[in-house]
């Protein structure tokens, strides 16, 4: 019988470089490889021998889309190691800048990367030809997140204002006031985004995932909490390495995480939503319910709706924080290094980002471990492909390939934001 191979050397609309390989023999899927060329742990090597205080700025360079996540996970790891607790208002400000990162990252994926899949366009440029006003709304919404990050972070792309112990500089309440109107507009635009994404056509595809996310008793967890899953996991982040292990794959120059004894697990917006629906603000919960969305969603294609609901939440939460903000007396607390190991884990837009550092008495980094969300989702993505392809095996290869790419894009995979150079091939001159 016929054999087919689906091969995409360079996946479009995913962050970084990725490739997909699916082998079909006798109308059965016989192999699935989702390859990612992640720079193998090079930043971890960079960090060895550096001072603890450099970690937030160095790790922020790993990703141009979510530098706050890297800064926050590293700063928290150091603070845990040195037994430092930050001022409650400093904690609130960190949550605020993190909301900015969600407001920046989610609309980028929803409007420019993911929506074209459902609207039948090859990319956002084509979509913008027919629906310029929709793409503009996405760009404006993202800009509100950018502005918040740039204001609190000191700079937009690689924020420099976050440090171990707090911030270098904190705003007055008055300085935050101009964001209130912007965020109110963004919250309305995000509500509109929920309504719009809910009208998109979704394939019928539900999986019994293990959703892993941070959970906090008082809030929709972003910057801290315990690691909890819908299948009974409930651990402190310092126990991460006892439960999750990274395996090296032959075909992908990256490490792939698995839950020990269980296998694939799912992190990111869908995981957070399923684990923490009850902690969303009333407005965000209502936005979900208004489009017929309950507290459980196991269809990864519908993550576009969940990202929109989380954008509503991030705007709502940012407004709450600004309303309750009082400028702290000091932007940061004193940090006294000591020999210790510190763990940090925060909810990057794409899911949990884990950092672990071993430090000597002077605060010099002896070793570092960083596990990004995409390497945690990699096994889940492959598992989705194993399930998805047989259901659509009769499609012509070109269309099946496009559908497989969509399966991958559901995860908003951030494969290697550390570089952005253009691989250009032009047949002229």
């Amino acid at each position: 019988m016929k054999s087919r191979t689906i091969k995409v050397d360079y996946l479009a609309r995913v962050e970084g470089e990725g490739a997909l390989y699916v082998k079909i023999s006798d109308n059965k899927v016989t192999d699935v490889k989702f390859k990612i060329w992640e720079p193998p742990r090079l930043f971890e090597a960079f960090l060895r021998g550096r001072n603890y205080s450099e970690a937030p700025d160095i790790t922020a360079r790993i990703c141009g889309i979510c530098p706050i996540a890297y800064q926050m996970s590293s700063a928290h790891a150091m603070e845990t190691a040195f037994g430092v607790a930050v001022d409650p208002q400093v904690r609130a400000l960190r949550r605020l800048i993190y909301c900015g990162e969600w407001i920046e990252s989610h609309p980028l994926h929803v409007y420019l990367l993911h929506a074209p899949d459902f609207l039948g366009y090859e990319n956002a440029i084509q979509a913008a030809q027919d629906h310029p006003e929709i793409v503009q709304r996405g760009l404006q919404l993202k800009k509100v997140g950018n502005d918040l990050m740039a204001f609190l972070g000191g700079r937009e792309i690689h924020p420099i204002n976050i440090r171990v112990g707090g911030f270098y500089k904190v705003p007055t309440k008055q300085e935050l006031a101009p964001f209130i109107e912007k965020l109110k507009w963004a919250r309305d635009a995000a509500l509109e985004t929920v309504r719009w994404t809910a009208t998109l056509p979704f394939p019928d595809f539900e999986q019994d995932y293990e959703f892993v996310a941070l959970r906090h008793p008082d809030e929709y967890a972003i910057t801290e909490g315990r690691l909890v899953s819908n299948k009974g996991l409930d651990i402190a982040i310092s126990e991460y390495d006892d439960h999750f292990v990274e395996e090296h794959t032959q075909y992908a120059n990256a490490l792939r995480s698995t839950h020990k004894g269980r296998g694939a697990y799912h992190v990111g917006p869908l995981a957070r939503y399923n684990v923490n629906f009850d902690k969303l603000s009333p407005l965000a919960q209502q936005a979900a319910r208004d489009v017929g969305f309950g507290p459980v969603c196991r269809n990864p294609f519908k993550s576009i709706i969940v990202r929109s609901v989380e954008t509503v939440y991030a705007c709502d939460e940012a407004l709450r924080i600004i309303d309750q903000y009082e400028m702290p007396e000091k932007p940061a607390v004193e940090v006294q290094p000591r020999a210790a190991t510190g763990h940090g884990c925060t909810e990057a837009p794409r899911g949990i980002l884990y950092h672990r550092y071993r430090l000597d008495a002077q605060g010099v980094i002896l070793d570092a471990k960083i596990v990004a969300p995409t390497s945690q989702n990699q096994k889940c993505i492959e598992s989705d492909l194993w399930q998805f392809v047989p259901k659509h095996i009769d499609l012509p290869t070109e269309e099946l390939t496009w559908r497989c790419e969509q399966v991958i894009r559901n995860y908003d995979p951030c494969i290697s934001c550390a570089t952005h150079f253009l691989k250009l091939h032009i047949e002229r001159d």
């Binding site: 420019l112 913008a128 952005h420 253009l422 091939h425």
Partner: protein
């Protein structure tokens, strides 16, 4: 007078921790020192929508980026965004989901391209993690700085030239 929002803008793109990927940043930093005061110089990571925001209001934009096209390392290419579309192959090989080429093409569709947009690409040799440019890329970045400074002085289509003459 400090540089305003409009006028001329130079944007260097790259990641300083990825060897030759930093070529655009290195060139931009040198141009910041050497360019006339009315020229704004920015550094960006290459994320497309941020790029579209940063060039809003500028009349003339010069983008400087690293390239990996298989050409000899240090080769410099110059593209005029208004004369030619940024080659579609850019889309497949950009490692940002929404990168420089996408930003230019989306801005074209939405009518948000700056009136004049020049892209300079410097061919890199290595993009591995690490600091510092390869010697030929370093040389190319240095030469490109001179070329752009020359453009600023001599190109009659660029604003600000009369100020310099």
């Amino acid at each position: 007078m400090p540089p305003g929002k409009g006028g001329m803008l130079i944007i260097g793109l790259g990641n300083q921790y990825r060897r030759d990927d930093a070529a655009g940043l290195v060139a931009a930093r040198r141009l910041k020192e050497a360019a006339p005061a009315h020229v704004r110089v920015l550094e960006e990571s290459g994320e497309g929508t941020a790029l579209m925001e940063s060039w809003q209001g500028a009349d003339t934009v010069i983008l400087i980026d690293a390239l990996d096209s298989g050409a000899k390392p240090g080769t410099v290419r110059r593209l005029d965004a208004h004369r030619e579309p940024i080659p579609t192959r850019f889309f497949h090989y950009s490692t940002h989901a929404f990168g420089v080429a996408e930003a230019i093409e989306l801005a074209r569709v939405l009518g948000q391209l700056p009136p004049r947009l020049i892209v300079y690409g410097i061919e890199g040799r290595t993009f591995e993690a690490g600091l510092g440019l390869s010697p030929e890329v370093e040389k190319a970045a240095r030469e490109l700085v001179e070329r752009v400074l020359g453009d600023l002085c001599c190109d009659p289509h660029l604003p600000g030239v009369s100020v310099l003459n």
